[in-house]
Symmetry: C2
């Protein structure tokens, strides 16, 4: 399983992905799911992947080798796309064909070949953009009304984002919310686990992207996890109990 | 969609179910999903249902009419079962055959005929028990280590139960936690909605079960929802932001 979230706010872009994969509950591994294409000033693309690992890995390998474009006769890669939208279309096409090839003839195996990806970044002078790409090749774009997208095991960590994240949230607060979202997810689903890979890209194109890996020894994350648990317990304790339920059973006489 | 939770703690049994059903997002209705078989001192059974409404309704109708038992020649109903476990077996058998009959020949329609049920209560002098029944007819029982079971849209409301509920939780605190769990679910999934039907059964068999319907006008629930939102925001605000992310972008000189 996997959990990835991308947040696109006025201050910039944050993308986070866990690193746990499993083929059955007894075959758990650590794989990077956040992939970076950093072309300096001209191009920055981050891709987070969820779903069947053979499909997402083959998709990225094909993109790395380059994909022949029958219309132009050129070889398309993520380094040559003229815009983020073109990158989304390229990745969507490769993901669709890879899924189709992988599952062809293997339907009877009962394996899910589904995969989804988050793709965020900028090419040239365009503003930062963020998309969710489905394995049918289609995609949706993140906009200000709901400034985040999730893939994988998204439900446990969605409530905190729904309640607290908006487009005006500062970048460091957004990172905090993202880590709370991961903490909630990892508590409820063992198939999502540390380390968390993260990249932050500020809206100001003069700023370099920053990379972080949050692992078991990260004091800030461990503190956040402990404090969030304590504060949830305090919040729960501060809410009065329902007056229509008696604490003690009524005495029968 | 649906969300139902059952909690089996030392103080007793709590079962809660929402009432929203939908056939597509533009066809939303209100149906009772918590069904009570209250036979006074001898028998109390509560069933909460999730999944395909035609399957769960047909299952309950068959149970109401009685099911011929080929081994005994008798007609089995929920009023005649000698134990909660026998009730679980009876409901599981009827649910499995109903699902099979309903989907037979309709696989091509692409409709899901899946359904699950929570069944809790006691028969005679046995202690309270709680089960989750799958539509294959099998079931799992709730035990003290994880003193709750959920069906339907369970993920949004699971973290608060994982963090706060244990077998020693008082009955009115468990009801509060259940309502927080519903509040989180309803905020993130419009397919789960008020009113919430609820029954509480104390461990002391001398106490009568109590029934509640929490609707839009319930002042306690509205207060709980508002306070929980405020306290989550306070909790979030009280946690420091990650020190490795600067609030302002570094100045490039």
């Amino acid at each position: 399983m996997t959990y990835c979230v991308g947040m696109l706010i006025d201050a910039g872009l944050v993308m986070m992905a866990d690193t746990r994969t499993n083929a059955g509950i007894d075959n758990i591994s650590c794989y990077r799911k956040l992939h970076i294409y950093d072309g300096g000033d001209d191009c920055f693309i981050a891709i987070a992947t969820a779903g069947n690992l053979s499909v997402t890995q083959a998709t990225l390998s094909k993109l790395a080798e380059g994909v022949p474009n029958p219309e132009t006769g050129e070889i398309d890669t993520l380094w040559t796309v003229p815009s983020i939208f073109k990158a989304v279309q390229l990745v969507g096409n490769v993901l669709r064909t890879t899924r189709h090839e992988t599952e062809h003839g293997m339907e009877a195996e009962g394996v899910s070949f589904g995969a989804t990806m988050l793709l965020g970044g900028r090419v040239g002078s365009e503003p930062l953009r963020l998309f969710l790409i489905y394995d049918a090749g289609n995609a949706i774009e993140c906009h200000a009304d709901t400034p985040y997208l999730q893939i994988g095991e998204y439900k446990y960590g969605k409530p905190i984002l729904d309640r607290a994240l908006d487009v005006n949230t500062p970048l460091n607060e957004a990172v905090k919310l993202g880590l709370i979202s991961f903490d909630s997810t990892m508590r409820s689903n063992l198939a999502v686990g540390l380390p968390i890979d993260m990249v932050t890209v500020r809206a100001d194109p003069a700023c370099e992207p920053e990379y972080f890996r949050i692992d078991q020894s990260n004091a800030y994350f461990n503190d956040l996890s402990r404090q969030w648990g304590e504060k949830l317990r305090e919040a729960q304790a501060a809410i009065p109990r329902p007056p229509f339920i008696k604490h003690k059973a009524p005495v029968i006489v």
